[in-house]
Amino acid sequence: MRTVGDELRAHPFFAGLSEDCMQLIAGCGEHVVFRSGATIASEGSAANEFYVIERGRVALQLHTSATGALLIQTLDAGDILGWSWLFPPFRWSIEARAMQDVHAIRLDGKCLRGKCDTDPAMGYALMQRFSYIMSQRVEATRLQVLDVYGRANRS
């Protein structure tokens, strides 16, 4: 059976990290399963972890009084869920819910924060990777906010 370390080493998100880093990171990880419908994180709750999704689909949703739960992004196998563990006040800014049975690796953010503080090179390398995901998300949000398909004209 593949260990958490094996899975993480094979994941593109961690590509290029040193073996020492990988061992530290894998030491903070464990396999978890969420049954379909389960809440993985609720908005405003403490964010002390992030997830590498291995199987299944996760819904990121916001609740508004007007529309109820609004699905604003889905994540699938290979995606990384959660970056709130990196920044104060360390609270989830969105709700994450399993749309199917979800198999994931949970990485303990508290433990990783400590390791990043004592090893800035590893902290920088991780920050670079999360910044990339965030930049992709900003780009996607721009397109969604532009409401490109809803506009009157295609050009």
Partner: protein, 273 residues
């Protein structure tokens, strides 16, 4: 057709609502119309209202119907929204250069459509799925504003289950009841099984989507000249005379609307005048 500037009166045969503002209707082709190529368009004319370029969204093999899918946005398209069979409308066409299907033979055919941009790509699907042995794989990646605005959904799911179409759709936003993907179309490229080096891509949708899709496809290793896009500009004559649809050195109605991406990339940031 004899005089390409002279509309022929044709009769509406069917009319169907697709979503709140989008509808599909069929007309009987005029005599002498012949056939059309996937990606070509007709000019539809309503007396007193004007004329609009509308892609042909049906099966190129069907010589008995011309199908159009329209989003009601302005004079002509709103008026078309209110018509029902057997209303008569003016039609000229077919115009323009279609999708280069021959360039995709023996390779992977990847279609990326946003919103109403699926309309000019549906003829490609009809044609490619009627002869799937000609392609290594046929993939459709679709982006829509919401699940309710996904066009031709039943037919696409049938093609997916019965005709081997690799089909992935994503929407900008959905209610919690939606089981599908939420996100942007460029993210679907990573989720789909494609071999970038073998891929010929055909992309149609809002111009900003074309730019983002082309960028993502290149990042993945799809050759620039294997990316084809369909563009839109306001049109008048449809035949390369009036200059209304000019984009850099090109007249969209005659040289397009389908172009290899590198040919039009420098002009895509340019405002229409």
């Amino acid at each position: 057709m004899k005089d390409p500037l002279l509309p022929h009166l044709v009769e509406m045969q069917s009319w169907q609502q697709e979503s709140e503002l989008v509808f599909t209707f069929q007309v009987a082709p005029p005599e002498e119309y012949g056939s059309f190529r996937a990606g070509q368009f007709n000019m539809l004319y309503l007396p007193g209202m004007g004329e609009s370029a509308i892609s042909i969204s049906g099966d190129p093999a069907d010589r008995n119907h011309l199908t159009h899918t329209v989003r009601a946005v302005g004079n002509v398209t709103r008026a078309l929204h209110g018509l029902r069979p057997p209303a008569r409308i003016g039609l000229r066409g077919p115009f323009g250069r279609g999708w280069p299907l021959a360039a995709a033979e023996g390779r992977e055919l990847l279609l990326m459509a946003g919103g109403i941009g699926l309309a000019p790509l549906r003829p490609v699907l009809f044609q490619a799925l009627a002869a799937p042995e000609r392609y290594q794989r046929v993939t459709l990646l679709l982006g829509a504003r919401s699940p309710e605005e996904i066009l031709y959904s039943e037919q696409l799911l049938r093609w997916k289950s019965d005709a081997g179409l690799q089909f992935l759709a994503t929407v900008d936003v959905a209610s919690a009841a939606w089981r599908g993907d939420v996100g942007v179309i460029t993210d679907l490229v990573q989720r789909a099984a494609i071999n970038p080096q073998q891929t010929v891509a055909m992309v149609c949708g809002p111009e900003i989507m074309l730019r983002f899709c082309a960028r993502r496809l290149r990042e993945l290793g799809v050759a620039s000249d294997a990316i084809h896009v369909s563009l839109e500009r306001h049109m008048q004559c449809g035949t390369g005379f009036c200059g209304h649809c000019q984009l850099g050195p090109y007249f969209l109605c005659k040289d397009g609307p389908v172009f290899a991406y590198p040919a039009v990339e420098p002009y895509l940031m340019t405002q229409e005048f």
